[in-house]
């Protein structure tokens, strides 16, 4: 397919898995529990009208009317203009809200088996990530050992909405260690189930709550990750943050630096300013901020560490998805820089 001669890799799209189909990949008693369950009974969703009263539509997938089928994926890729796609099972985005590892561990195992059996097809450019049941680090490591070598599984995904304690806590070290040792990237992905906390606090419109809901979880986790020294403990780890746009990154870089300069002894593992670590992370671009003045975007990308830190993500078929043209519209980038963001960096980091 390619765009302007560049391979287009979408590092974050979603597959809306039918529960009845998925439940076949669970062991008992969860298989029976799930097969009879109504949507949301075990996996919390979130409120809010994504479709703005019917104004936004998705014509090339069954979603939002129905769950998707694997057969829809090639059409989806063609519609967005993708050569390769990394699909996350959508319900897994609520993972942070699962209160119990009794549910999280079988679900994580079942989901990856389902995705590998029914959805993933590297020969067609279709990949997925392993969503970790971070509630139980030991089981997460066992799962990494079991599937990380699968060609169709490109990274570990930690959903940033929900984990307590936050993801820099040492209880998660074994997960990072396993990924570090295997050169298995870790993707931190915001999740929609967190947006409800803003509704509860009195926001009236989804516009308000969505502006903050995804963002603040990534902010919370990146602070923990950096200050607790995860990149120092595990220097080989490729760290990716997704689904909060990119303007928040310089905000957190400079805010963390200001704090760190005043309280360095509270982060004694760090050998440089927090922003320097953050300039070594990667960031999915969606939902990309589109300021009237493109120079602002250029400056933000400079502050983050340059176009080599970015990877194109569509988030399709979610309501606020981005097309690859958001990258090619950045005239201030060279052709090769656009190619890096559109796919080259993702191909290298995810080994696809």
């Amino acid at each position: 397919m390619t765009l302007n001669g560049h391979v287009v890799v979408d590092v974050d799209a979603h597959f809306f898995e039918p529960l009845h189909d998925f439940s076949n990949y669970l062991d008992e008693p969860w298989k029976s529990r799930f097969s009879g369950a109504t949507r949301g009974r075990f996996i919390p969703g979130s409120t809010g009208d994504r479709w703005v009263g019917g104004r936004i539509m998705r014509n090339v997938t069954s979603y939002p009317q129905k769950d998707m089928t694997p057969e829809e994926i090639p059409g989806l890729m063609k519609h967005v203009g993708l050569d390769k796609i990394v699909l996350l099972p959508n319900k897994m985005l609520s993972f942070g809200k699962l209160s119990s590892d009794e549910i999280a561990v079988p679900l994580a195992n079942g989901f990856i088996d389902y995705m590998l059996d029914k959805v993933v097809d590297p020969s067609e450019g279709i990949y997925t990530m392993l969503v970790a049941p971070f509630h139980d680090p030991e089981e997460s490591v066992a799962l990494i050992d079991r599937v990380a070598d699968e060609k169709g599984v490109v990274a570990l995904c930690l959903v940033t909405a929900g984990p307590e304690p936050p993801l820099g806590d040492r209880r998660y070290d074994p997960i990072y260690e396993a990924c570090n040792d295997r050169n298995f990237p870790v993707v931190f992905h915001a999740g929609g189930s967190s947006v409800d906390s803003f509704f509860i606090r009195g926001y009236r419109k989804f516009l308000e709550t969505h502006t903050l809901g995804f963002l603040w979880n990534n902010m919370a986790q990146i602070v923990s990750l950096v200050v607790q020294g995860v990149p120092e403990k595990y220097p080989n780890l490729d760290i990716v943050f997704q689904e909060s746009g990119i303007f928040w990154v310089p905000l957190m870089m400079h805010r963390l630096d200001a704090e760190y300069m005043k309280r360095q002894s509270e982060a004694p593992l760090l050998t440089k300013k927090p922003s320097k670590y953050m300039q070594e992370f990667y960031y999915g671009t969606q939902p990309l901020e589109e300021p009237d003045n493109p120079e602002y975007l250029q400056q933000i990308i400079d502050m983050i560490g340059g176009p080599e830190r970015l990877m194109y993500a569509s988030d399709y078929p979610h309501w606020d998805y981005d097309r690859p043209s958001v990258i090619t519209n950045m005239d201030f980038l060279s052709d090769s820089e656009q190619g890096m963001i559109l796919g080259k960096t993702a191909e290298r980091i995810f080994g696809i």
Partner: protein, 122 residues
């Protein structure tokens, strides 16, 4: 190189400090744990009085193994001084901010001659 007289060793006993001027730049001279240190006395952050700051051994941490608490201890070799206004902390020997060596204050050598202390100015 010039030697700038500071005071007699008797006037700077263990645990004491004083400020001298080196070409209009205030420099803090300290006598800590048997050694003399001299470091620019004005904090580069917002010009705070570094000379009034607390002196402590540098806090160091070692990552032992996954899931374990960091082993934290005070350095046996590095002393720091912290600006009392917002806490920027500097290595007394090198002048470097403990978190960002790109921010470094000038430090000077102190020499002792016949009971008198001198600051070596480049």
């Amino acid at each position: 190189m010039t030697l700038i007289p500071i005071c007699s060793t008797n006037d700077l006993p263990e645990g004491s400090r004083k400020t001298v001027n080196v070409e209009d730049t205030p420099v803090l001279v300290l006598h800590v744990d048997g050694s003399y240190y001299a470091i620019e006395a004005t904090c580069p952050h917002q010009s705070g009085p570094l000379g009034q700051g607390i002196v402590l051994p540098k806090l160091e941490a070692t990552f032992v193994s996954a899931g374990k608490r960091l082993e934290e201890s005070f350095s046996e070799t590095i002393l720091t001084i912290s600006c009392p206004w917002h806490g920027w902390e500097f290595d007394l020997s090198t002048g470097a901010h403990c978190g960002d060596s790109e921010v470094t204050l000038s430090t000077f050598e102190i020499v002792e001659k016949e009971g008198e202390l001198f600051l070596k100015s480049p």
